[in-house]
């Protein structure tokens, strides 16, 4: 009896290690329901498009919805690491969830590649050799927006963001580059849907520009309510406040607005042209920057898998660091803290046919790294 159980256990152990040696399993925790669903769905769709295009059938995907709840994300991560035995994790959209999941995941030897959140804590002292950010450090697009506001001649901004790690990074980043005054700095609740009080403050602030970082449903609610209120102080934002998902819901209220992004659907490089076309053919809508980030993340993983299996951690890590893949952004390289060094563009919202979208009108920052790299010791 005992012998039988032992043999059975041995058999099970050998089959599971065989599965490990052959394929790679990737756990994706992302937001697929509620006010942040648009972001997670785009990341997932972009990611899966790259996996499909690769034609590899040795990748096992486990995709779960975190509902933007940190406790749910932690639960899912524990399950993926401890019972599903994933090699690589990815997918988290929100920085507060990233802070709850990533440090413990990387400490347990799992690779984490962030397709979106890039909290400053993980770029500086909290960096880790197994943590890579394929999107940006949180401050990046906001720093670019600050630089853009200077060149656009604004001198007094009202700034607004949700009260969570990425929101605080956003306003810090904007103020790092912006040389004018800040009329008022306001933090709202994450997931807030009514901005009447803040819009009244803006109306009475005397500012000449409004900088706001409100991703997903929050941005949709804000821009719609802002248009309704009749306040006509120009809006500036990072790409998150005017991504493809928001534009569709906001409508013409967003026309002519400027925003900053590391990616745009009209970037003219072969990878991007093919990506935009394939994404539209597959899903019937224009990709957003989140979709491009998901696509790049998957392609980075695929490029490293050509070199080594994640079980061979050192070789796999070196392959990720080399970033030997074709990015939709054109040039792409990692800095010493595993965060991107890239160009950040200024985009304008235009009507193309009958679809609102962004086109590049200039470059805000070239080969931009982040402010925390020298605090990182791996």
């Amino acid at each position: 009896m005992k012998l039988k159980t032992l043999a059975l256990a041995g058999l099970m152990a050998s089959t599971s290690s065989m599965a490990l040696a052959d394929g790679v399993s990737i756990g994706m925790i992302t937001t697929l329901s509620g006010g942040g669903a648009g972001l997670g769905i785009d990341v997932r769709d972009g990611f899966m498009l790259a996996i499909e295009q690769s034609g590899r059938d040795d990748i096992e995907m486990i995709i779960e919805d975190d509902e933007r709840a940190p406790d749910r994300a932690v639960q899912l991560a524990d399950r993926m690491i401890q019972s599903d035995d994933v090699d690589i994790m990815t997918g988290i959209i929100w920085s507060n969830l990233a802070m709850a999941v990533i440090p413990s995941a990387t400490a347990q030897g799992v690779f984490y590649l962030s397709p979106n959140a890039g909290p400053s804590q993980l770029a500086g002292p909290g960096c880790h050799e197994n943590y890579f950010n394929v999107a940006w450090q949180n401050d990046g697009l906001h720093e670019a927006a600050g630089a853009y506001a200077n060149t656009a001649g604004y001198s007094n901004s009202f700034i607004l963001a949700p009260n969570y790690p990425a929101g605080r990074d956003a306003l810090t980043g904007y103020q790092r580059m912006f040389e004018g005054d800040v009329a008022e700095e306001v933090y709202t609740q994450l997931g807030q849907t009514d901005y009447a009080a803040e819009i009244s403050q803006i109306r009475n602030s005397g500012a000449d520009s409004v900088y706001f970082f409100l991703p997903g449903g929050m941005g949709i609610a804000f821009v719609r309510q802002y248009a309704e209120s009749g306040v006509d102080i120009p809006l500036i934002g990072p790409a998150f406040s005017f991504d493809q998902g928001i534009l569709g819901a906001v409508g013409e209220a967003a026309l002519g607005v400027h925003n900053t992004s590391q990616w745009s659907q009209d970037l003219d490089n072969p990878t991007n042209v093919a990506f935009v076309e394939a994404f539209q053919a597959e899903y019937g809508r224009l990709p957003s920057l989140y979709a491009s980030q998901g696509f790049d993340t998957a392609n980075l993983i695929l490029s490293a898998m050509e070199v080594a299996h994640p079980d061979d951690a050192d070789a796999f890590r070196a392959a990720l660091e080399a970033a030997n893949f074709d990015s939709t952004r054109g040039d792409f390289a990692f800095g010493p803290n595993h965060h991107p060094i890239q160009d950040i563009y200024v985009r304008e919202v235009v009507m193309q046919g009958d679809v609102l979208t962004n086109v590049v009108v200039g470059t805000a920052l070239e080969d931009h790294g982040d402010a925390y790299a020298d605090q990182c010791q791996m």
Partner: protein, 306 residues
């Protein structure tokens, strides 16, 4: 802070308050008359918003959408009362909480099944879009003024219904002593279904009216439900007057707290920590208000001494 800004913020608080009142009125009636804790009240708010979005999608008319939302919420409310809720009146509160929580899950997944998990959007009708000029040079959104007007009108209508009509007398009697009113020959089952449908319709109306301002999505009702519970606890359970006063108190406290607390902390802290601390504390103000009121009036402002 200038007078114009203060008035604008008071209007914002009032608008938020009357929205909460529409939710809380139904909740407090249902609790007061039937003694039922209905966690699924937030789902009826969501159903109202989705029904409005669907009708607006078919017909393009906001006014039809509003009517559709009222009817859909009332009908689903009556149906739920007859099929599920009716069996819960004699159970204890834990059973009611469990069963109505199950209803939340069923409604949320059902809505996701039919409408998907991406948010929907309603447009404001042309008549009410854009700002208007109020006396004193204050610009304010027409649509928010419309919400305030509807909320106050519904409030007045409810007072009239409860105080002056035969149904109102029966509702009040049902609150006081349900065995006695049944013994007097009032069909208590019909009365309960009616009250439940009325509460559902008010929640549906609230959901439909909020659609053009916010997004219509699965799970939109639960945050409002929590606030509505705060309102009825502050106002006193079962009291429409209490729900009205409580809703306005919560609406004004929340709105004014959000803008004033960061400024208050700015007096003695540096700007960036004042805004973060102020913003964090602002999300607690209504709960502090509730705790304060319960300290002095344990059964709420207008609660009976039961």
């Amino acid at each position: 802070m200038s007078a114009a800004l203060l008035i604008e913020q008071l209007l914002n608080g009032l608008q938020f308050g009357v929205m909460l009142f529409l939710m809380a009125a139904g909740l407090t009636l249902i609790f007061g008359v039937m003694g039922l804790i209905n966690l699924a009240h937030g789902s009826l708010y969501m159903i109202g918003a989705f029904a409005a979005a669907a009708v607006a999608g078919w017909t393009g008319s906001f006014w039809l959408a509003l009517m559709g939302a009222l009817m859909a919420a009332a009908m689903i409310g009556a149906l739920v009362e007859m099929v599920v809720i009716r069996r819960l009146y004699d159970r204890d509160h834990l059973d009611q909480v469990l069963a109505t929580f199950a209803l939340i899950l069923i409604f949320s997944e059902g809505t996701r099944f039919f409408f998907g998990s991406l948010p929907l959007y309603l447009d404001t009708p042309d008549l009410l879009s854009g700002p208007t000029m109020l006396p004193g040079g204050i610009e304010y959104s027409k649509y928010r003024l419309f919400i305030i007007a509807v909320g106050l009108a519904v409030g007045a209508g409810l007072f009239w219904l409860i105080a002056r009509t035969r149904i109102g007398i029966q509702i009040r009697a049902g609150e006081a002593d349900r065995e006695m009113i049944a013994a007097l020959g009032v069909d208590i089952r019909k009365l309960y279904t009616l009250v439940f449908a009325l509460g559902a319709a008010l929640a549906g109306l609230a959901g439909a009216m909020i659609g053009p301002i916010q997004s219509v999505e699965v799970g939109m009702g639960e945050p409002v439900l929590i606030l509505a519970f705060v309102v009825i606890v502050i106002g006193g359970i079962g009291s429409i007057k209490g729900a009205f006063v409580g809703a306005l108190l919560v609406g004004l406290t929340d709105t004014l707290g959000r803008i004033m607390l960061p400024q208050l902390f700015g007096l003695f802290m540096d700007a960036s920590s004042a805004t973060t601390v102020g913003a964090s504390l602002a999300s607690m103000t209504i709960y502090i208000l509730m705790a304060g009121i319960l300290l002095f009036k344990p059964s709420g402002l207008f609660g009976g001494q039961s």
